[in-house]
Symmetry: D2
Subunit: 161 residues, 4 copies
């Protein structure tokens, strides 16, 4: 049993660029997080892009879908910005793949201390191993089906519709 | 849906006592971890004891079992030292409760940076929401049934028998 | 012997606002840093403003100078954004106060893990206790006199002119 | 101007050994701390030993003194366990070397989050650059002369005699 991890960026992987004082992306931190979590589940990581999900286009989503279709694994973890998780979830669900796809991310960058990212990664990997085929969002310690989730913009928490 | 969290200590909650230079226990860190993980799953926490699991006796296990039986929730997360997780798992499994019990812990104390505890907590809470009734150990990003798990003392990793 | 700490913001105290995904300021972290450092030096903290020093105006600097003049202490630690530390240093030096003023800050926000802030605070407090009256910048483990310092914009390191 | 850093261990450099659940020593963390602090002061690090200072003998202290005498630098930072800092300070002071020696350490291991080590290192390096020849202990944001310091065993704080 192996899990494919597809990285697209989002707050999860944001970093602080000290020279220009802005937030940006470098390499994904998923490998070091799996190491810290002492994860023995077999995983294969591929970074597709490193973007804020507000800037994600359907061309980006088509790339994500293409990868979901073509990777050999039937369990896929997708790291993603929280702002358009439900949009991507719906896009992928329409393809009706015989796979379990769990989308997760973070409200606070992993690198910034006090991040929810590490906890979310553990939860998402667990859900991937037990949920039946379908597309899900895993945030706040819970999972939501693709058609019953939204991000509450005031609280930054995910909830059912 | 509510989850009961029963705390028994273990490396998960160990701290450094700066005055005597030794490791000890204070209050459990589970509440702050759930807050950091922005967990919206309804949980009820009860600290049963704060012990190194090598020092756990069957009297302690009987107390754990008693709580598992009597709490209203049918989903129970048990934090526990890694050394005798499988012993407690077997003890609880024999009672055949109509509940899902997931045991987790950490190899490095949560308070000591570089801990696997936060990741394990996320995974364990997720497994609790999807696994059928039974007793499980959740470590290293995976879950094991109570009758098919042991801690490898050389590597500190959990594996099937 | 007491030290006055005047807080003006800068990267030192920046935080991540998870709702809008931007960096901003909340309360200063100097009190918690002094506590973590187990600092027994007597200090009095006053937050004058919380700004990025690129946005600091001479009206702001006049407020800083006014406080430097009027506080009873003759040892003053000023936390400040790194971009215009030398500008403020010169502004204060011109007043020729019979006081020791040490300006410090950070290239990475204290709250973002991997910060130089905590180290810089320790160094700055130490320099304050040993340097004669004058105005200094303390960064990178060193001190510079107000008239012999600049921030290298490429490396983010401070150096003599 | 270059600073010699002599490492002897102490709580400063303690780590958690997850396999046997005990505290132990690995490599010193001083290099990574200097990097994190973005320290541009020229330093040369030598690890003399990695011991709890309660176990330090006069043979160990003779080795420390020998190094203090023979290194080319006249500014020496000594990392040391807090329990017998004043004993080593006196031992070194008796040699009356034409050097500035500052001893520092930590009450909480650097690796254990919430450590005072990083702050103490910044302070000690700063004191080294401004104090006249002599032997000092730098803890709690302050410096003490070798003949006027003791560790308060109840509070873990350093104070004058």
């Amino acid at each position: 049993m192996s899990i494919r991890i597809l990285v697209t960026g989002g707050t999860f992987d944001k970093e602080y660029d000290m020279i220009n004082g802005k937030l940006d992306f470098e390499e994904t931190h998923v490998p070091e997080m799996l190491k810290l979590g002492r994860c023995t589940v077999s995983t294969e990581i591929r970074t597709l892009m490193m973007v804020d999900s507000l800037e994600m286009t359907n061309t980006d989503r088509e790339l994500i879908l293409h990868n979901c279709k073509t990777v050999p694994e039937d369990k896929i973890l997708l790291t993603h910005g929280t702002d358009t998780m439900s949009v991507t979830a719906e896009y992928l669900a329409k393809a009706n793949l015989p796979k379990t796809i769990v989308i997760t991310g973070a409200m606070i960058p992993y690198k910034f201390g006090s991040s929810d990212g590490f906890f979310n990664l553990g939860a998402a990997l667990a859900f991937l191993q037990t949920l039946p085929h379908g597309v899900y969002v895993a945030m706040n310690g819970r999972y939501f089906t693709w058609d019953n989730v939204r991000k509450n913009k005031q609280t930054g928490l995910f909830e059912e519709l």
